[in-house]
Subunit: 647 residues, 2 copies
């Protein structure tokens, strides 16, 4: 194989005008071995998507031959990237990565889809050469957009290739990504569609007709067609795409199951391997032998290969000095976030050695307070329109490509609408900072469709992420700066309204200039001995008001605040709550947020306390936030009453 790769060095970066016959033959030889490996690995795993792997192999192969991407350059800045959007063609992509030296071929073929191995059924970042894990269709182009935007912010010349299936073309997110690429003039992106005409349920025109060339063209892409199994044709198409002034898509006409007679042109092998006599036939047609298959099958008993875990480095940023808001300031948390982001981004903008900060908006910049950032950091603000799905994935992918990536949106769009994109960001070990404004009932008069009352519930279901719900503008400022310096997926959630600054008993800001954000910490806002009120976010102020009302009646309540309900230290909580009673209060569903998290901590610790969980119990009203919150039974008087009812 190495001899073949050597013959192909002239085509790296599309340097040659065209392929020689010898180069084309060398590529065909590599592809033949990849097809054989794909058939063998799916057979050994007794599962997998063989048909699409075989039709996509020539595309993966030409890209690995021509892209500025080699095993030596795996983490180099400025290298090209390849995204396989139709992640179920993993056998094809993996086999090509093995052929080009990114991974060990025997290890791959033996351990494909083996529990605990890195070679999962859909492409994952645990495999060197895979920059973005996919599998839920329609997301790959968005990831490519994110990579291209990150490269632009870094000033890198980087090509992004996105290989897609034809069955996924109708997915709406594809169109959204196309438009962002077009608007942002991301000519560094080339999409290649494995146009085999077949999806699980049959022919694409029967399952869901779509005029694929017309749709790409309408969104401003150059449309190029080629024979997806002819290397001269593929190479020529890539050269044309490279020269295009707009982003380009190559429709690669292919044959499902290419290379195995009984798999060609049928959906039967979309999602299954060959077996029995047909397996022997397939292997014979591809020039392999059964002894090699059995040798590799035996290797599946070996110890599991190591899983590489993608690591995103912490960004390099000057996080600036805290802004301290005083009792006189009437400010919303949104404003404090926007000011802190703009401050940090501006002080690092263009500074040597600093990580660029980019921010995504979906037509709400003024409401989500990205406007100041946009003014101060030209070229770093991306207006993505009302296209949240593509934005969520693009912002997520950018976050693993060398920039600090921030997306600010209303809670119902930044999390509810894009839950699955955020889940896949988590699976990809991304480092996205999603700022959710207008959460809870504090959205102004917009009404129930705009009330994100499940932000903690959803964040909790995304493994490994953090969510921060600050109490006031001071804590928002500190949390924003802290978050920007951290790796990992973090949500920062806040309502719409202006809030009083939380003060200590002495009247000074509780989250003053010496306060450093501590994720997981429980803030002891007031001490007391008869009961505990545990609040989240803007309910902290109401909890203090309730506490003051109770004090007037001779009841002494402790007030705690958790800005990180998923990170609460259980033993700290247990020791603070003691024997109770406990009232939790949150501008969030009563059964799935702070109260539920606290209940789980207590139940697991084997502690029983008298407890009431105040929160949202129905879809809310449309009116002023104050009225809407009061009608939900979450006013200070309701909190005080709940405490009294437990005494």
């Amino acid at each position: 194989m190495n001899g073949s790769l050597g013959k192909l060095s002239g085509v790296r970066n599309l340097a040659a005008d065209r392929l020689t016959a010898e180069q084309s033959g060398a590529l065909e030889g590599i592809a033949a071995s990849c097809r054989l490996d794909s058939v063998m690995m799916t057979a050994i795993a007794a599962s997998g998507h063989t048909g699409g792997a075989l039709s996509s192999i020539d595309i993966f192969n030409i890209l690995l031959a021509t892209a500025d991407l080699t095993p030596e350059k795996l983490t180099a800045p400025g290298r090209d990237r390849i995204v396989a959007s139709h992640g179920h063609t993993s056998a094809g992509f993996y086999s090509a990565l093995a052929a080009w030296g990114f991974i060990d071929r025997d290890e791959l073929v033996a351990n494909f889809r083996r529990a605990g191995s890195p070679y999962q059924g859909h492409v994952e970042r645990s495999v060197p050469g895979v920059d973005w894990g996919t599998g839920n269709l329609g997301q790959g182009l968005s990831a490519g957009v994110g990579f291209a935007l990150a490269a632009r912010a870094l000033g890198e010349e980087r090509r992004i290739f996105v290989v897609m299936g034809d069955g996924e073309q109708p997915k709406g997110q594809v169109a959204e990504a196309r438009r962002i690429a077009s608007k942002e003039k991301l000519r560094s992106i080339t999409a290649l569609i494995d146009y085999n005409g077949i999806q699980i349920s049959g022919r694409i025109e029967d399952v869901m007709p779509a005029d694929i060339p017309a749709l790409w063209s309408a969104d401003g892409w150059e449309v190029i067609e080629c024979d997806g199994h002819s290397y001269p044709s593929l190479y020529d198409a890539l050269r044309r795409a490279d020269a295009s002034e707009s982003p380009a898509v190559i429709l690669c006409r292919t044959v499902m199951g290419k290379g195995v007679s009984f798999m060609e042109g049928t959906e039967e092998y979309h999602g299954k391997p060959a077996s029995g006599e047909l397996l022997a036939k397939a292997i014979a047609e591809l020039g392999g032998d059964m002894a090699e298959l059995e040798r590799l099958r035996a290797l599946r008993m070996s110890p599991l290969p190591k899983v590489r875990r993608a690591v995103s480095p912490a960004p390099s940023l000057d996080l600036g000095a805290p802004a301290v808001y005083t009792a006189q300031d009437k400010k919303d948390n949104r404003g404090a976030f926007g000011a802190a982001l703009a401050d940090v981004a501006e002080r690092n903008y263009g500074a040597a050695g600093r990580t660029p900060v980019i921010a995504f908006d979906c037509d709400l910049a003024v409401s989500v307070k990205l406007d100041s950032f946009a003014k101060k950091c030209p070229g770093r603000f991306i207006q993505a329109g009302i296209q949240e799905h593509a934005t969520a994935t693009a912002a997520g992918a950018a976050s693993v490509a060398g920039v600090v990536s921030v997306w600010a949106d209303f809670g119902v769009f930044g999390l509810d609408e894009t839950y699955n994109q955020q889940r896949l960001n988590a699976i990809n070990d991304a480092s996205l900072k999603t700022v959710l404004t207008h959460v809870g009932l504090d959205v102004g008069e917009d009404g129930m469709t705009h009330q994100c009352i499940d932000y903690v519930a959803l964040a909790r279901a995304i493994l490994g992420c953090k969510i921060i719900v600050p109490a006031d503008p001071n804590q928002t400022d500190r949390a924003t700066r802290w978050m920007l310096g951290q790796p990992g997926n973090i949500f920062l959630a806040m309502g719409r309204g202006a809030l009083p600054v939380i003060l200590s008993e002495d009247g000074a800001p509780f989250f003053g200039k010496d306060y450093a954000y501590r994720y997981g910490g429980i803030d002891r806002l007031r001490e007391g001995r008869d009961a505990t009120i545990l609040a989240m976010g803007h309910m902290a102020g109401s909890a203090i008001a309730a506490r003051d009302a109770l004090a007037a009646k001779g009841i002494s309540a402790r007030v705690l605040h958790s800005s990180s309900p998923l990170g609460m230290d259980a033993s700290e909580l247990v020791s603070l709550v003691g024997a109770g009673p406990l009232v939790t209060c949150e501008d969030h569903e009563a059964d799935t947020g702070l109260g539920a998290a606290a209940a789980l901590c207590l139940a697991r610790a084997g502690v029983a306390v008298r407890m009431k969980n105040l929160g949202v119990t129905r879809y809310g009203d449309s009116g002023s936030s104050k009225d809407v919150i009061a009608r939900m039974g979450l006013a200070p008087g309701d909190i005080a009453q709940a405490v009294e009812s437990l005494l």
Copy 2:
């Protein structure tokens, strides 16, 4: 006003060839009063989206004049329906509904966006004449598709009008809905775009360029343009759309803020009302007076108007006889669902007085076991392609329009990918039956991207819905039949693999022929005295195996099963669990599913027990389900060990 309406009776159902000057003038008069009401109600509410309301009013007005929809026909079968996809133009739609007698005008203008009133900020079904609540953009056309498909199944001739904004056109879900309509030849749908060229952040071509006519045309729609403020032009366009052989879209050229000089052509009043001197100016320009404004403002102090709650009747279906699977049957729950659905659907297919059953698929019919239904019920199976967002909304809307609507998909698509669409189905009091297959780790070798490990967590965050996770094929059969006869949004969740039938100690099927599905019930699979194992779904079989292993060691464990973790009766649970110890086990995140629900029940009851919650704690492996589950620590031996550790 009644005089005006009388003059217009000739244009109902587009009966006249064209509008007379008198009719056109009457419509203009109605529109003028609607514009005034829109400005007044947003001013009184001190919030609202004035600009788009003013630009859309002529569209709403011509539709209410010509559609087969009057206050008398509000619930009539076969009537036309109007969906406002850009729900923020509520002031415009509501004012037109008031002008046409659907709601009381004074009550509306006084109580718009008042907490507790039916007149929410975004259109909701609490307002007569609103068939689908919207607000999160891009969903209205999908709802229209659902209404048209329901009408077809009912054999009704019904026109569906979908009014849309131009800013929402880039949203991917719009394109998905377009394609379903085209494929299904839903010429009963007419979309009307309020083409004012402006969205929140500015001109649409600056925010996110999109070639709107080309995109609709590429998806097979007839594109018609008209002057959106000229009644003859609007009427003529509607007639052309009505005659079109394909679904048609009318691009209505309009002016943002039409009718108020300082609001015209600017985004400034997209999301706010006029106030102060400008309010007086607006009212003067629209021919109103401030005294009337103050009269209406004073009415806001009156008692709240009553909120109408949309009610979906229970379907009329013969639910058939249970299928009983025995110990010899090795069947997956999917198969039991598919067989039960096909049985119920077939026995009611075409039967007089029965509710039609329709089912939606996203290119996975064989995997989700809709294939038998598709064969037995011609015309009732909708292949929607890989377009889950539009499918979720279309299926939801169909469920409130006279049919039993079923959507079966993998868990990650039917819930994770479409969480927000499902949330809005819930807000709309829909009655969708979503069948989630391939949930948990039991997905075969597909790997982490396809493992829906958060189905209970997400269902729990959707207020008012139910989720059912049956233990075996028998319970699946019973739950399927029960679900099909119920109103409301219900999820039915199951893994991929074949399962042993759960047996009683005497060897007979536990969920035998006399078992009736009881939502909320806790199934007492085995009795015991030393500890309790509480399992969900297919973990029931593993829990029994663990119990048998413990019995061999002299430990007596009770085995409970909950198929309805969100509906568990807390007092029943507390009485069954007693003083513990308790081990919960589920093929779902350990912190957000059955274990968390049980912990919350116990904590709220003030009961402390020794407890362990076994479940999914990281994104999973790719391999055989058995291996993947074992590597997550959820094998029977792990359950037994957890019990022992608590003794």
